[in-house]
Structure formats: C-alpha cells, structure tokens
Amino acid sequence: MQRRRSLPDVLAGGIFVLIGGVFVVGALGYDRGTPLRMGPGYFPLMVGAIVAVLGLAIIVKGLVAGEVIPSEAVPWRAVVLIVLAVVFFGFFIGSLGFVPTSAVTALLTTLASRRVRLLTALAVSAGLTVAATLIFVVGLQLRIPLWGPGFVF
C-alpha cells in the first residue's frame, strides 16, 4: 500500500468534522447537566467532539501519509435516479397509493443502469410492480391502499 497525500482521506475527515461539529453545536443548545445527573446534551456533546477530533486526525494523516484508495468514476446517473426514486416513493406513497408509486420507483431505478434499453426498463419495472403487489399487498397484507386518493385515471 502506497502512502502519500490522499484526497479521499481528507474528504472522509471533512465529513466527520462537519457532522461532529453540527452535533456539537446542536448539543450546546440542550441542558448539559452534571456528570452525576447528565442532561440530554452531555453525551452527544462528548461524542460529537470525539467524531470531530477523529475527523481532524484523519485529515492530518491524509495530508501526511494517506491511504491510496483505488477509485472509479462516480455513476452520476445512478446516484441521481436512485435518490430520486427513493424520495419519490416516500413523497407520493401516501397520496398515489401502492401500484402507481411502485411502478414509477421501479422505472426510475431500472433506468439507473447505463446499459438498459427503455423497452427492457419498462418490462422490468412492470414485472417488479406486479411481483411487489403480489408479495406485499396480496401475500403479506400490508395496509397500503393499492390506488391512493391522489391518483386519478
């Protein structure tokens, strides 16, 4: 393993510092209490500080003697489409109902692959919607309406 300056290390460290920092700032707003009777803010403050310090250590190490991590290009199309598909599901399941929401989510996800053709994608998502309906609604009797109130033909 080669050791040199490493961007991923710095990025990872940055994320830890950021999240740790946000929690520290948030925890300052809660009652800290005393060690005897800790308030809700005590533990998150401590752990948040630990995360931030470890993040700083990772950044420093990344600048001096980082890990070289083999990396491939980010599949932006997949990132965008899959996030979109998941968020769509959460946002519309209440209003559109099970079948339409699942179908759109499945289609968006299927298109995340760069190698899929539209016709194949449509067929796969139709198949998955039927399968999901059979498994979850018919088989496991989840109480989600098949067609929601917001869905109009």
Partner: protein, 501 residues
C-alpha cells in the same frame, strides 16, 4: 441434565410446521443472496425485517437467522464457480476453490465446502447450546458500569478486526453512536436533533441506516463499473470427492471448526477473520504448501468450515448479553425489540422456548442447507445468470416498500436515500459501513448505562475502575485499541488480510 430438557423444548418448538417452513424459507433466501454477488445478508435481513413483524417472535428469528448462516453457505458457490465471492468471508474460498473448478474439479470443491460447513455448523451449534446458559448467568451479575465497559469493549474489538484504517473505523463507530442520539432523550424526554420534525422523535430507524448503507451504497458501487459477469462454468459433474479428497479434508474441517467457533464470538466480522486465519493455518501446516493457490482442497474445506462455525457462535453474544457481533445481529436486536423482548441475559430464562427453538432450528437449517446446496446446485448455477439490471431495481423497490411498511413513516424512506449517499461517499473514501451500524445500535445502550452507572455511584467516575468486571473489560479495551493502533501489530494483521489480494 438441563441441556437435554432445553434441547427437547427447543426441538419441540423448532419442529412446528410453520417454524420448519420459515427456517426453510430463511436458508433458501440466505443461499440465494449468498450466491448472488452484489446483495448481502445485511441488506436482505434489513429488507425482510418488516415482513417478519407479523410472525411469532420465534418464527421471525428462526427465519432471519437462517438468512444469515444460509448466506455463508451460498457465498462459497459463487466463489468457487465464478471467482466472485458472494459474501466477504468467501473471498478466501475463491483462491483454491475457483482454481479447482478450472481444473474441472468444481464438484469436489463444492462438496468439500458443503460438508465442511455442515459439520462445522452442527458442532458450533453444540458449542452455542453449551456455552450460552453459563454465560448468561454470569452476565446477570453485570451492573450498569460493567455493561458500559462491555459495550465499549465490543465496539473497540470490532475495529481491531475490521479491514482498512483503524482510525477511520473508530470514527465510523463514533459517528454511528452520534447518529443514535437523534430522537427523544431516554431520561428527560427532550427531543434531540429532530429539526422540529415529530417523525424523528422516535430516532432514526436502524432499518433505514442498514438498507441505505448496505443496500443502496453497495448498488451504487456496483453501478460504477457495469461489466458482464464472468462466465459460469456450466457443468458440475461428479460431486462426490474421491477417497484421497475425503482423507485430506478431515483435518482442515476439524481445525476450521475449532477456530471458527472460537473467533465467531468476537464482534465485528469474526467469521471473515476465521476464514482467513484457517487458510493461513492450513497453508502453514500443510506438507503440500506449494499446492495452495493452485487448487488445494484443504484451502476450501478449512475456511468454509471456519466461517460457518463462526456464523453459529456469533449468536452467543447476542443471546447471552444482548450484544450484536455483526450487522445482521444488530438487525436481530431490532427484531427482538419489536416483539417486546429486550435482548440480554434475561432472555434465556424468560423466553426459553424462543432461545432453544432458535438454537434447535440451526440444526434443522444446516441439514436443509446441505440438501439445498448439493443436489440443487444446478439451480443456483442458473440463478447466477440473472442480470444485475433486474436484480438491483428489485432490491431498491423491495427495500423502500419494506421500510415504509414498518411505520408508514415517509421519513424512514428519505433516511434510506440520505444514508445511501452518505454510505457511498464514506465507502469510496475507504471507510467500512459495518462499524457505523454497530455503533448506531449500541450507542443508546452505551449512553443509558453510562448515565445510570453515574447516577448509582452519585457522580463518582471511578466506579468504572473499582468494579472488577468493568475494570477488566476497560483494560482489555485499551489493549484492543493498542493492537489496532500499533504499527508493528497492525502489520501482522495486514499480512493476514493481504492473502485476499
């Protein structure tokens, strides 16, 4: 003898029709996800967890456990046939197993893996049955300070075992603990970090974290580089190993079982460590060292036995202490809690039918697995031809539906997307997701016991050092941290893992 009565109770529970059925479903699914590269047992269990909420608790746990140890079996099939480990612990099986397959000896390699796994699984379940009750009895003497030290010890040991940078693993654990503090404070009820959203009062759902980090992030990793799967060796002939083979696998299976049973108890992927260690041991003591890497059957039988033994004994900390040793176990803690059972030393006395039913089901599961894996090998080979373009949308869709059905809470679904992206970025930066999930599940336990211990000791922090159990565990924690941090020892650790490359 109690053990006998317990086992009778266990088998009378495990042999109920629905339990055998769901044990079968569990090992079948486990084998499937073990065989298929790109989907692991953690994501599968997370996805199916919501479904099991309608079951009896024991049925639910039997099925989830079946998925976990079934995946250890299935992972070897892919490793041997197409040199792609379906599960991380099968990476070492690929070394000699695939080489055997290329020499036309795929049958004996698969048989050695299955026989080794069966023997190891059966023996390790005995270890589990014998070791669990006394350990639970000891654990009942634990006070909050001891529990705090134990949880901390478990978390730190899991870094010593994880691959990659120890510093990053430590940070991932701490981040997991931090994310676990979201939601209402246990003592005062104050909502913390909820951004004013009522839906977050109950905290972040750990199913969302698991599905995001292990499901979505893994899919994004796989979509970075869409390649055709390496072609499958299509014919598997003459499964039965020759007499020479049978003679050669006896020792490795026995040693692998022992190693696996011992190492499986360790938190954080003891089964991966077990298979690597077993391979290293077999290579060292073999008279035919030069054959290793070129199709030595010992290199298949040993590690496969080890990882399967470890898969069974990793239930020991879960059933006796309520501590998960693996992300899948962390999900099972969730399954316990949903069914109103607090995992811990009391479970074994309060819910004997559940614990012994689960243990007994593992024997049944192991028998089912041999039947599934040897005669039906052709079906699994055919399953490898399912294109990933169909597989990954199925994972995403089923994951969001399953997660949503938990509490009809759309925030749980948004959390999947959030943790999918966070997990993807962190994995790309060389951080492993497993420590984060362990930290997330154990974090609340850590906080609760820390605060309770200090209330009992009236704010005297030395309580952690004056209680012998707690002091011993903390000393061990420091030692584990030292092992993870010191370069000289780390180097040895890297040597063990380097075999994989």
């Amino acid at each position: 003898m109690d053990l006998f009565d317990n086992l009778v109770l266990g088998f009378s529970t495990a042999l109920l029709v629905q339990n055998v059925l769901y044990c079968f479903v569990g090992v079948l699914l486990g084998t499937a996800v073990g065989v298929l590269p790109g989907i692991g047992p953690t994501a599968t269990v997370a996805m199916l967890l919501p479904i099991t909420f309608n079951f009896e608790p024991v049925t639910a746990l039997i099925m989830l456990a079946g998925i976990y140890y079934g995946a250890q079996y299935g992972g070897s099939t892919t490793a041997i046939l197409i040199n792609l480990p379906g599960e991380s612990s099968a990476a070492v099986t690929a070394l000699d197993g695939h080489e055997m397959a290329r020499q036309g000896r795929a049958g004996p390699a698969l048989a050695a893996a299955a026989i080794g796994s069966f023997i190891a699984g059966t023996v390790a379940t005995v270890v589990l049955a014998v070791a669990a009750p006394p350990l639970a009895a000891v654990a009942l003497k634990f006070g909050p300070a001891d529990y705090f030290a134990l949880v901390l010890f478990g978390l730190i040991v899991s870094i010593a075992l994880a691959r990659g940078s120890a510093l990053k693993a430590l940070a991932m654990i701490a981040l997991g603990i931090l994310l676990g503090t979201v939601g209402q404070d246990i003592y005062t009820g104050t909502p913390r970090f909820v951004l004013g959203q009522r839906e977050l009062y109950g905290g972040i759902d750990f199913v969302s974290v698991a599905v995001g980090m292990f499901g979505i992030a893994e899919i994004l990793r796989n979509l970075e580089n869409e390649r055709d799967r390496p072609s499958v060796l299509d014919r598997v002939t003459s499964l039965w190993p020759t007499r020479e083979d049978r003679r050669r696998i006896v020792g490795p299976i026995a040693r692998g079982t022992g190693l696996g049973a011992a190492l499986g108890v360790l938190p954080g992927g003891g089964h991966v460590l077990a298979s690597f260690t077993s391979y290293a041991v077999e290579k060292r003591i073999s008279k035919r060292r030069s054959e290793f890497g070129h199709g030595a059957i010992e290199g298949v039988a040993g590690p496969e036995s080890a990882n399967n033994a470890a898969a069974q004994t990793s239930f020991i900390p879960l059933l006796t202490l309520g501590l998960p040793a693996h992300p899948v176990m962390a999900l099972m803690v969730g399954a316990f809690i949903v069914h109103g059972i607090t995992p811990g030393p009391n479970v074994i006395t309060d819910e004997p039918a559940l614990v012994w039913g689960l243990i007994a089901s593992m024997w049944i599961g192991n028998v089912l697995l041999v039947l599934l894996n040897l005669p039906l090998i052709g079906i699994w080979v055919r399953m490898l031809r399912i294109p990933y373009q169909v597989l990954f949308p199925m994972i995403v869709l089923f994951a969001v539906i399953g997660t949503y059905s938990l509490g009809s809470n759309e925030y749980d679904v948004y959390a999947i997307a959030f943790f999918g992206i966070l997990g993807y970025v962190l994995i790309k930066c060389g951080c492993e997701p497993a420590p984060l999930l362990l930290g997330f599940v154990l974090g609340p336990l850590l906080e609760e016991n820390l605060r309770r211990a200090l209330i009992i000791s009236r704010g005297d922090a030395t309580v952690f050092l004056t209680r012998p159990i707690s002091a011993t565990l903390l000393a061990l924690t420091v030692a584990a941290l030292a092992i993870a941090a010191f370069p000289a020892i780390r180097k040895r650790r890297e040597v063990v893992f380097a075999e994989e490359d």
